[in-house]
């Protein structure tokens, strides 16, 4: 990331915060590109068994793109865009590797791995993506909330600011969305 584009991002974010929609158009490819790059590096390692932390990815992209501290308003904008993109990048990746990920071992060697059900933190991104789609049909706001929390790592308070709803509401709706998603994802693995 060179300095000039870092300034660009900062400037664009500021303009967008002020309501300039055109700034968003210019901003998206920049942010997307950087997220792809950062994610790509991690995804390469993921092959060797790394666990992905989308939060870390988004924050790393943020730090690379925006080298100076921005007012919260601009950061909030950034993260709300980044959350959606991060979801897309990770899900695309998971989809393209869905066989490779489950296998990984030589045929004769993989049994123990297969018996071991996935470790707790490894969320099946594809299942989550599907579940989020379904949730969006029930309640679009909750689906977006999860996107912000999980894919951009926003806290309850930050999510509340980005979405313009009170923190207690976020907390409540987050809890029910979580329960619903967990059930949906476990069901998914059960059925398939």
């Amino acid at each position: 990331m060179n300095e000039s584009s870092s300034q660009d991002v900062t400037k664009l974010l500021a303009e967008w915060s002020k309501g300039d929609r055109a700034a968003l158009e210019t901003l998206m490819p920049l942010v997307y590109g950087e997220l792809r790059r950062v994610a790509g590096r991690y995804l390469k390692q993921e092959k060797q068994g790394h666990t992905l932390s989308p939060t870390a990815l988004v924050h790393e992209a943020y730090l690379r793109l925006v080298t100076q501290k921005l007012p919260w308003q601009s950061r909030a904008h950034f993260f709300s865009v980044a959350a959606q993109m991060m979801r897309r990048i990770l899900v695309d990746h998971a989809r393209s590797h869905q066989y490779a990920k489950r296998g990984g071992g030589a045929v004769t060697l993989e049994l123990t791995e297969a018996v071991a059900t996935p470790a707790r933190r490894e969320i099946d991104l594809l299942a989550l993506d599907d579940a989020l789609e379904s949730l969006a049909k029930l309640d679009g706001r909750q689906s977006r909330m999860v996107e912000l929390r999980f894919f951009a790592g926003l806290s309850i308070e930050e999510t509340s600011e980005v979405m313009g709803v009170s923190a207690p509401t976020v907390k409540r709706e987050w809890a029910s969305a979580r329960a619903w998603l967990f059930r949906e994802i476990s069901r998914g693995s059960v059925d398939g």
Binding site: E3, T55, A106, G153, R172
Partner: protein, 859 residues
């Protein structure tokens, strides 16, 4: 469910989740009054909430500090009294504790003080004594630029506190920026700071945590240093050395200002303060940190501090955007002396920094006066990183640093949880620690898992996380999900000690102990909550891991017993929910495991039944439309074929099984031609048909199959050179090709392929490697190279010299194969290994006989 229905369910669910678990039933009775479908739905979601682990979908624990601060609970000590002081308000909190503004209650002048409550108890008399002694030393520091330590003591519950002079001011960097001070002014201010630090050093006190937030500048431009030696007070606890998890062994620090030796956890000296002052000065001059491009993730900072060369201040200002108008002037001012001065303070090796803070300060004075300075640019020799390479922070160091950084949040659990009785805060702390422990286990650990040489660091991290969880679990015995986390932690420890599938410490005995602990916890959880399906699945995993390691430990009977239990649980889960395809799939996996473990001369028929059950289950699962199980079904076919072939020599039936696997893969590949995983299985199964065809006596056709499979595997390997698994398969298949040549009597071609296989295989077989197939292949390669040399040596047409040489080489090959063959007698190739070992020994005897015969005949 429709959106309208969800609204209803959600409202009741959200209310219920806010209630304590015991109060929910009553609420639900009335809220769902009579609507049993609604009630079932809400109940199922509540159950799902309980099953989800605490960190399900939670953002990572390494969110930036701002995010964490937002959630920090407000302290409610305002108005309370500590000693002679009355708390007014909280003015800050951090890793070490919280700071309050307070007034002396009995003082008519209402003199203001700052009170720092230090987290962590003082335990025994020895520590209390140390704490008091340290306080006394600090109280003796009397310098106009050091905030005085006025008093200190412990609260009734043993929590230590110190009372300090209250300073009203701005951190030095903000102070300089807000007044837009020129460089020379900044340097003068900084020299005053140096004089205070130098004074403390003369009194044998090291600050240990110098950073702008600890250097306040008052309205009258007087810098005042805070928190002198406070870190040392905490160290007093450490020095007393107890393994008590409630007292951290790792001190919190501010990574951006910490010196390399501090990051490494090495002893700190006055040179460490010189380094931190260097970072402070760097910031004052450039507005930047010394290491560009470093994120705020603690382990990256730690690594940069230990390894990266700081950027010159004169070029770092390009990153500063605040003062572009006079950047060029600034650059000229910094270039040369100031670059050298700052970089000298920031050297990685303490002995190459300024010898003292006075010397540092003196060099700045000389610069201000236009005199030559003692700091010189680093020589080329150093710049090329010779030192850094020599002292490259090991993975362990970085890991230690990360652990130290998170430790700040972990310091007290017991005290907070039990003694302080502020329930909300204690819960917050409890959850913080839990999240951190899990983050250590599942993020930090996983992040370094594949780094070479990280095993020891992984052990440390996992141990540490385990201690935290263990302490938490003691506080919350009835908390089942916490118990499950603890079990997962023991499993990770076991993995690191001697896991079946990953790089490990080779401590099989230790791994057994850890896995057994994990199993015991999960058994207790399952007993307490028999309906919990998730816990039952974890129990299956625990049995599986234990079983695998028992194989490594040579206890096959034990391994089989564990696998048997795993099957029993899987059977129970599946029969409780017969239509559930995932449970059927898991049951099939369990049968495959059991069959795999029982594959020996005595039990192979039972093992065959296991595999056939797995085949039947998987065929039905696949027929039900589950595409994910195809490859597993292929595996089940393959295993069934393997048993038929190995123990009954029913090669035709076995061949049919492998052919089924191939057909299955090929039908999948029509839809998904780019799927390398399917291609790999296809190629490998073709290799296995070669085994069966060879077993039926057709060596030429077998050779063809091996060539075909190998060609496919090589294609895959070329397409992705990083795919280790496929390269391992290439090595294994090449060995098969060599064997086939040998069987045809083509010793020379056999030698070429066997050696190829051995060389490739050796690249991937690491010590302690759990890849039994590969280990077996390389053992066989050596053995068969011995056979090939023997074959050549037996050729009477060759000259005695060449024959002698081949006998000699055969002997050496056999000798080299012995340790590997012996090792294999413990594993899944037990029987073949024992037979082969016998053969090798008798062949060796023959070699020796022939050699001595040839040498006698020569004489």
């Amino acid at each position: 469910m429709t959106a309208e229905e969800w609204v209803r369910v959600r409202e009741i669910l959200e209310r219920a989740l806010e209630l304590a678990p015991e109060g929910r039933a009553g609420y639900l009775d009335s809220a769902c009054s009579g609507d049993s479908a609604l009630r079932r739905e809400v109940d199922s979601l509540i159950a799902s909430d309980e099953q989800a682990s605490t960190d399900f979908l939670e953002p990572g624990a390494f969110a930036p500090p701002e995010a964490a601060d937002v959630c920090a609970p407000a302290e409610s000590l305002a108005g309370k009294r500590i000693g002679a002081y009355q708390i007014v308000e909280e003015i800050g909190h951090g890793g070490m504790g919280s700071v309050y503004r307070a007034v002396r209650a009995d003082d008519q002048y209402r003199k203001q003080v700052a009170i720092k409550l230090v987290r962590g108890g003082l335990g025994d008399a020895f520590r209390r004594h140390r704490f008091k002694a340290e306080r006394q030393i600090l109280a003796n520091l009397d310098h106009p630029n050091i905030a005085r330590l006025l008093d200190g003591g412990t609260l009734e519950d043993g929590q230590p506190y110190v009372v300090m002079e209250f300073i009203q001011g701005q951190p030095i960097d903000k102070f300089c920026d807000s007044r837009a001070l020129p460089v020379s002014e900044r340097l003068r201010l900084f020299r005053t700071v140096c004089s205070a630090v130098a004074y403390a050093h003369q009194h044998l006190v090291i600050h240990r945590d110098l950073k702008p937030d600890n250097i306040l500048v008052t309205e009258s431009s007087e810098p005042k240093l805070l928190d002198f030696g406070i870190a040392k007070i905490l160290d007093a606890d450490v020095a007393a050395g107890s393994g008590n998890a409630t007292v951290t062994v790792l001190r919190p620090m501010t990574p951006e200002y910490a010196s390399p030796e501090q990051v490494r956890g090495e002893p700190m000296t006055t040179a460490s303060d010189v380094y931190s002052l260097g970072v402070v000065l760097y910031g004052l001059l450039t507005g930047q940190r010394p290491y560009p491009g470093t994120s705020r993730l603690p382990h990256e900072i730690a690594q940069a501090v230990c390894e990266a060369q700081p950027e010159k201040p004169s070029t770092a200002i390009d990153r500063e955007e605040a003062r572009p108008e006079n950047r060029e002037k600034l650059r000229r001012g910094l270039k040369g002396d100031l670059d050298n001065i700052v970089l000298k303070a920031l050297r990685k090796e303490p002995e190459r920094r300024y010898a003292s803070v006075e010397q540092f300060s003196e060099d700045i004075r000389r610069h201000l006066k236009g005199l030559p300075v003692i700091a010189r640019a680093d020589t080329f020799w150093y710049r090329t990183g010779k030192f850094v390479n020599r002292h490259k922070a090991s993975v362990l160091v970085v890991a230690l640093a990360v652990a130290a950084l998170v430790a700040g949040l972990v310091i007290t659990l017991r005290e907070t949880y039990v003694a302080r009785c502020e329930r909300a805060r204690a819960e917050q702390r409890f959850n913080d620690v839990r999240a951190l422990a899990n983050s250590l286990l599942f993020e930090v650990h996983d992040a370094i898992q594949n780094l070479p040489g990280s095993t020891a660091a992984r052990k440390l991290i996992v141990d540490r996380a385990l201690r935290y969880l263990d302490a938490l679990a003691k506080e919350a015995k009835g908390n089942l999900s916490l118990q499950r986390e603890l079990a997962a932690a023991y499993q990770k420890v076991g993995d690191v000690q001697g896991g079946f599938r990953e790089a490990n410490l080779g401590d099989t005995a230790g791994a057994l102990v850890s896995y057994r602990k994990s199993l015991a916890i999960l058994e207790a959880v399952a007993a307490a909550d028999p309906a919990n399906v998730e816990a039952a699945r974890e129990l299956i995993r625990a049995h599986g891991k234990l079983s695998d390691v028992l194989i490594l430990a040579g206890d096959r009977a034990g391994a089989i017993e564990q696998s048997k239990q795993l099957v029993a649980i899987a059977e129970r889960l599946s029969s409780a929910d017969p239509g559930n395809q995932a449970e059927r799939r898991n049951l099939a996996l369990a049968y495959l495991d059991y069959g795999f473990k029982r594959a020996d001369r005595d039990q192979w028929q039972a093992a065959l039944k296991d595999c056939q059950k797995a085949v039947a289950l998987l065929e039905s699962v696949v027929a039900a439309g589950d595409k994910k199980s195809h490859r597993l079904l292929a595996l089940a076919y393959s295993r069934t074929g393997d048993l038929l072939s190995r123990f009954a020599h029913r090669h035709a039936e076995s061949l049919a099984m492998h052919q089924k696997a191939i057909d299955l893969m090929q039908s999948m590949l029509i839809e998904d031609p780019d799927n390398t995983d399917l291609r790999r299985i296809e190629a490998w199964e073709i290799v296995l048909t070669g085994d069966e065809i060879g077993g039926q006596g057709d060596a030429t056709m077998a050779l063809e199959k091996y060539r075909d499979g190998l060609e496919k595997l090589r294609g895959l390997s070329a397409a992705d050179v990083n795919d280790v698994q496929v390269q391992i398969l290439v090595a294994i298949a090449t060995g098969r090709l060599g064997s086939a040549f040998l069987q045809q009597g083509n010793a020379k071609a056999a030698l070429v392929e066997l050696e190829n296989s051995l060389v490739q295989g050796r690249r991937f077989s690491k010590p302690g490697s759990a890849n039994a197939d590969l280990a077996w292949t390389t053992a066989l390669d050596e053995f068969q190279m011995g056979q090939a040399h023997s074959l050549l040596a037996s050729d009477a047409r060759l000259s005695p010299g060449i024959r002698r040489e081949n006998w000699q080489q055969a002997l050496e090959c056999y000798q080299r194969s012995l340790p590997d063959l012996t090792a294999a007698t413990n594993g899944i190739f037990q029987e073949m290994a024992q037979t082969t070992l016998k053969e090798a020994r008798s062949d060796m005897a023959r070699c020796e006989q022939e050699l001595s015969r040839l040498s006698t005949s020569r004489r």
